[in-house]
């Protein structure tokens, strides 16, 4: 009987040790998955937050589309000026306007107005501006479609209801182009002289100097127009890179 108890003790002790290790592993796993989940939640919410704030800025900032009343010297909530809208459609057919640029995501806006003719409600004019291309395949992470009601002001006598929809995309190309455009602003304002940052790309990256476009060479190429002309050293394969960015004579020099 004594011998049996002694043998049991020899089994229980290592078993306890193994169980303790398993529990500690579970704890570690839980902590790390908590971090991953938190990051995922944050990214999703960042995208929604960016979408809503971009729409609000576009519709309410005088620098963007908001109608400025010469009478009140103010703007009205979510009422956009037809002239500014037409101007944006012409100027920003392939890129986001500076007044509401997100440096983390890419987006395109579609405004659809509604009108009623002979008792039927129909879609009227449509306007679209912003990025025309987004990350594809593995470079694409997530996207979101979100809209708010607004109104398009034609004149003192005509303002039509409309919706402003944003298609906002989280992807590698948007992130990298955002970093480079942000650097461009800082360089132009003499805020920095050189700059290094780590990026991750799932596809080779090339730069079309004629079009001033940075392209991700996914199965179907996707390109984004850049703010600054660049001297960009091509990235020939997927991976993590440290970009070394400097600015010479109005041109951004990007080496990896």
């Amino acid at each position: 009987m004594k011998r049996l108890k002694g043998q049991l003790s020899y089994i229980i002790k290592p078993l306890s040790l193994v169980m303790t290790i398993v529990l500690l592993l579970l704890l570690y796993n839980s902590i790390s998955s908590f971090g991953t989940r938190e990051t995922a939640v944050q990214k999703g919410l960042d995208l929604t937050s960016d979408a809503t704030s971009t729409l609000l800025v576009l519709a309410n900032s005088e620098d963007c589309l908001a109608y400025h009343s010469p009478l009140t010297q103010g703007v009205y909530a979510n009422i956009v000026d037809l002239n500014k809208l037409n101007d944006f459609v012409g100027k920003y057919s392939a890129t986001e306007p500076e007044c509401a640029r997100s440096f983390d995501f890419g987006w395109r806006i579609t405004i659809t107005e509604f009108k009623r003719t002979e008792g039927n409600v129909t879609e009227g004019n449509k306007w679209s501006f912003g990025a025309s291309n987004f990350s594809r395949d593995n470079a694409f992470h997530q996207d979101l479609l979100f809209s708010i009601p607004m109104a398009v002001r034609y004149s003192d006598k005509l303002t039509r209801p409309a919706t402003m929809q944003i298609h906002i995309v989280d992807g590698e190309l948007e992130k990298i182009a955002g970093i480079l455009d942000w650097s461009c602003v800082l360089f132009k304002n003499n805020r920095i002289t050189k700059f290094s940052i780590q990026i991750k790309t799932s596809y080779p990256l090339s730069y079309n100097s004629q079009m001033n476009e940075l392209c991700s060479m996914s199965k179907e190429k996707s390109c984004r127009q850049m703010w600054c002309p660049m001297n960009f050293a091509e990235i020939k394969s997927a991976g993590d890179y440290i970009l070394k960015i400097s600015y010479t004579d109005g041109v951004m020099v990007v080496k990896s």
């Binding site: 529990l23 939640v41 944050q42 609000l56 009205y76 009623r116 303002t159 209801p161």
Partner: protein, 421 residues
């Protein structure tokens, strides 16, 4: 002793393992449930605020969109609707009517989707202004009534104004300036001028009217209240017609328009059809009234001494030579009562107004009739604007409270817009 110690040691070992296990599992549960949840809810709250802002701004913009027929914003239209206490606003024959419920529904349906929104606006209890233009016959037979009107009517309007009801009257006197034997002159010189009471000669507004008084020496324009009413409606009161006021036109005379004598002297028109100028004058009044949606109220000012026998006695005034003259009123006033009643009733009934006769010879009676007309202008007011689907219970909704100016009353109400997914 050793055995007991060893046994105790094993128990403690097992217990400590158990405690360690429970502690680790506890930590895992806390991490999973509490920390992730709180992080998510913190970000969620920020995003929710953005979405709320977007909703509020969006709802406001819908109210700033315009109705294409009137060029007015929905905010202005709700303000007018709240002022008149009616969800249908009539903008006259050219523009037509605007139904607020209909206009809000298609907009919110298009933007938020059917059955996903509700708009609630409380309409304050407002008494809309009443504006009256009144055309008075200035022939000598009015010497009974007009002196009393000039004295009592301003008092009546003043008295009504003290009871939270704003009434203005502009009297248009037809051409003529007979002086009654009591010294009263049948023109505006005998009327007081107040902010709510004005008197003008009809000839002063002829240039504003498409319908002019006819010209000719044999034409009795001092009794042409048909053309006079048409012109008064077109020109409006001294302060001008206001938006959303209750607009009335009152005519008072004891004869047919242009006289009951059919152009003759002290003979009564046998029938209305025998005097086409009177019919034309009446039609001018009816046409202008319907076009401007201002009803005609007619007060037949025949001062009977004995109504059953159609006896009117006489009236004293100064004739063209300046001598007092006691003119009999039996012809044409009293004798023509039937044809005058037919004529005046037609004006009132064709335009949504009303026809009145006087009960006594005292001029006070005409003032009492005007008071009756004003008192009858009680509107059935809509007290609340509720549009859209009922707000469902137990689900998350977004609410925006947007102030709605009621500029005509100088006050505000609030549009409560609710949206749900």
């Amino acid at each position: 002793m050793m055995k007991v110690k060893k046994k105790k040691g094993q128990i403690f070992e097992t217990l400590s393992f158990l405690i360690l296990s429970i502690a680790i599992i506890g930590v895992i549960i806390v991490l999973r449930v509490f920390l992730t949840g709180s992080a998510g809810s913190t970000f969620g709250t920020i995003v929710e605020r953005h979405v709320d802002e977007g909703f509020r701004a969006g709802a406001t913009s819908v109210l700033y969109s315009t109705n294409e027929r009137t060029s007015k914003t929905m905010l202005e239209l709700i303000g007018i609707s709240a002022y008149i206490g009616n969800t249908t606003i009539n903008f006259g024959p050219t523009v037509g009517s605007v139904n607020i419920i209909d206009d809000l529904t298609w907009r919110f349906d298009a933007l938020y989707g059917k059955n996903h929104w509700h708009v609630h606006v409380d309409y304050p209890d407002i008494n809309p202004d009443i504006q009256i233009v009144m055309v008075l016959d200035t022939s000598a037979s009015m010497c009974y009534s007009i002196p009393v009107v000039s004295q009592k009517l301003p008092q009546l309007i003043d008295q009504i104004g003290q009871s939270n009801k704003k009434v203005t009257i502009t009297i248009y006197m037809l051409p003529g300036s007979v002086t009654c034997c009591n010294g009263f002159k049948l023109d505006c010189s005998s009327f007081p001028e107040k902010s709510y009471f004005h008197c003008r000669g009809i000839e002063n507004i002829q240039d504003k009217c498409a319908t002019k008084l006819p010209v000719g020496s044999s034409i009795q324009t001092d009794e042409d209240y048909g053309d006079g009413l048409a012109c008064a409606i077109e020109a409006g009161p001294a302060e001008g017609w206001k938006k959303a006021s209750i607009k009335l036109a009152i005519g008072s005379s004891d004869e047919l328009s242009l006289g009951s004598e059919c152009g003759g002297q002290n003979v009564c028109c046998p029938s209305l059809s025998s005097y086409p100028p009177a019919i034309q004058s009446g039609n001018n009044a009816i046409h202008t009234s319907i076009k401007n949606q201002i009803p005609l109220y007619l007060i037949q000012d025949i001062d009977f001494v004995d109504a059953a026998r159609k006896q009117c006695g006489s009236i004293c005034f100064y004739d063209d030579t300046g001598q007092p003259y006691d003119a009999p009123l039996d012809q044409p006033q009293c004798a023509c009562t039937d044809v005058v009643t037919q004529f005046q009733k037609n004006l009132a009934n064709s335009t949504g107004g009303q026809f009145y006769t006087l009960n006594s010879i005292s001029g006070q009676d005409i003032v009492d009739k005007i008071q009756e007309i004003i008192n009858n202008q009680k509107q059935e007011r809509t007290k609340v604007l509720d549009v859209g689907a009922p707000i469902p219970a137990g689900i998350d909704t977004r609410v925006a409270n947007i102030p709605v100016p009621i500029s005509l009353a100088g006050t505000y109400t609030t549009a409560r817009i609710t949206e749900w997914s």
